[in-house]
Amino acid sequence: MSDIHGKTDLAIAMRGVTKIFGPDPEAALALLRAGKSKAEVQAETNHVVGLDNVSLDIAAGQIFVVMGLSGSGKSTLIRHVNRLIEPTAGEILVHGTDVLKMSLNELRTYRRTKVAMVFQKFGLLPHRSVIDNVAYGLEVRGVGRKERLETAAKWIETVGLAGYEHSRTRQLSGGQQQRVGLARALAMDADIILMDEAFSALDPLIRAGMQDELITLQKSLNKTILFITHDFDEALKIGDRIAVLKDGALQQEGKPEDIVLRPANEHIEEFVRQVNKARAIHVRSIMERGATEPCEQSVSMDARCEDVLPLFAEHQWVGVVDADGKQIGRVTAKQVIKALARHTPGVG
């Protein structure tokens, strides 16, 4: 235990978090610990296993995506971080503080200052205007009216809703409503933002735009974002790290390319088969390292295969540079094609 308390660069640490829904979770927990599966526990005790012994380390300043199909426990998982749901067993540390040991008052202070949340169904207050919705978290925290409205106006502008300050939320489209939800969370200036299927209710085009905006915002704000989605493409696009849940149990956790290049099991392989691999694989994980001759065209080491593909129309190979602009390697069309082809069933 002491080792988790020591690591302060971890924003969120979960240890053996288990959640069982039902009147007598302890009995069901004993069965689960004895090695019974989720289906067996449900058949025997009529208790639903929401989360089964999930441990996660989420470093500060990254977008951490939890991916899973509906019923996999991902929404249950995210609600443990701000204790909207109490676990049956396990430990949850946020910046080294045990969330489960907080008193009711401490918990409220924690929710008011440390974690903000964005919801799939937006959860906006229909009787308030847009600006009052965005200022809601600050109002609950006790910030004065003038100051909170100024902050709210700034974030409304940032999410591109300037001019809608005094509209009612129900008059807005889904995409605009979720921008209000996002602005409301950002206005809290909390270190951690929890996003529960935040973009799932939006149209594909609007969703892609919101994803890009989130990535841009994250770069400038450097928050820790825990993002829940059922969409593997979305996970690959925005995630610094991805965890895959199935039936409440953690299947695999790692960088997007780890999951695409080395899926841990059949279930994940199924996802990988459907996915746009060019988006998932970073150039740096397939490049040949070392000094090479100076290049005509170069890309950042954070670029993905889809970014370099068009460049091969003109060039044999493309240089890869680090954050300082120094060339650290190169990547050829052949390498990219190999990486993309390797994991296509029946080819590799």
Binding site: T109, R112, L125, P126, R168
Partner: protein, 291 residues
């Protein structure tokens, strides 16, 4: 003859209830009367105010409120017509007495019912206890509790007011409870995630969102209070109900008919105004413009 067999002797029970009531009247009558005195003060104050206010001012006020509630000419016209009818038919003073009884009963019912409704919405056990009591209040023939109340308080305005409140309060309790419980759970969860305490959630989220339903309860309460005025006038409430009663007693059909239509006119005025406010509120919350 087909008689139900006498299994036990119920006469001692009846005697116990009758003696118990007599004992209460003898020993506690004064206390009860003192406790209900604030109700009488409220009723008298409202009645005196309504009677002292010039008729044209009351007509102007209610017509103005009707206009504020709809911003159209139809409802103010209906309100104006109904009130003029009361004046023309020489029922104005009686109408004010009845209106005072209704307003006093509604205000008291709001004062009691909304907190009970709030409490019920939060406790499953309390809801299980209160619901049968509400059923009893609504279905028990009013004469059954009217007679004991008259015995305790003596005939007059207090038992009339209490009987009206007993009959009119239940729908408001039920609709407050329903309105608070049917607030969108995702909005409640969002509010919780921002660290609100129960009081902030109640006053900041639940009550504002349940307000249209609560207002529907207030509307129901005013209507039920008006439907009690004839019975209430039997024990000394006066007003339009008394005119109806006299009309029946003297076989003056016209007197009963016009006073009865006067009650209908009052009902129309208050029903339409509260409903219009409910619709306005709902539009403001935006229930009707979901895209």
């Amino acid at each position: 003859m087909n008689l139900f067999p006498q299994l036990i002797d119920t006469r001692p029970w009846r005697r116990a209830v009758d003696d118990g009531l007599n004992w209460v009247v003898r020993h506690w009558g004064g206390t009860f009367e003192a406790a209900a005195y604030p109700l009488l003060v409220l009723l008298k104050a409202i009645e005196d105010l309504l009677i002292a206010t010039p008729w044209w001012m009351i007509i102007a006020l209610l017509t103005g409120i009707a206009w504020l509630a709809t911003r159209r000419w139809q409802l103010p016209a209906i309100v104006l017509g109904s009130l003029l009818f009361l004046g023309v038919m020489d029922l104005w003073k009686d109408a004010m007495t009845t209106m005072a009884l209704m307003i006093a009963a509604t205000l008291t019912a709001i004062f009691i019912s909304i907190p009970v409704g709030v409490w019920m919405s939060r406790s499953f056990r309390l809801r299980q206890c209160v619901t049968p009591i509400l059923d009893l209040m609504q279905t028990l023939p009013s004469f059954v509790y009217l007679i004991p109340t008259v015995m305790i308080f003596g005939p007059g305005k207090i038992p009339a007011l209490i009987a009206t409140i007993v009959y009119a309060a239940p729908p408001l309790v039920r609709l407050t409870d329903l309105g608070l419980r049917s607030v969108d759970p995702s909005v409640m969860e969002a509010s919780r995630a921002f660290g609100t305490n129960p009081r902030q959630r109640l006053f900041g989220v639940q009550i504002p969102l349940a307000l249209p339903t609560i207002l529907a309860g207030v509307n129901q309460t005013t209507m039920m209070a008006l439907s009690m005025v004839v019975i209430a006038s039997m024990i000394g409430a006066g007003g339009l109900g008394y005119q109806v009663l006299q009309g029946i007693g003297r076989l003056e059909v016209s007197r009963g008919l016009f006073a009865g239509l006067g009650i209908v006119a009052l009902a129309i005025v208050f029903d339409r105004i509260t409903q219009a406010f409910g619709r306005q509120l709902q539009a403001r919350i935006g229930m009707q413009e979901v895209r």
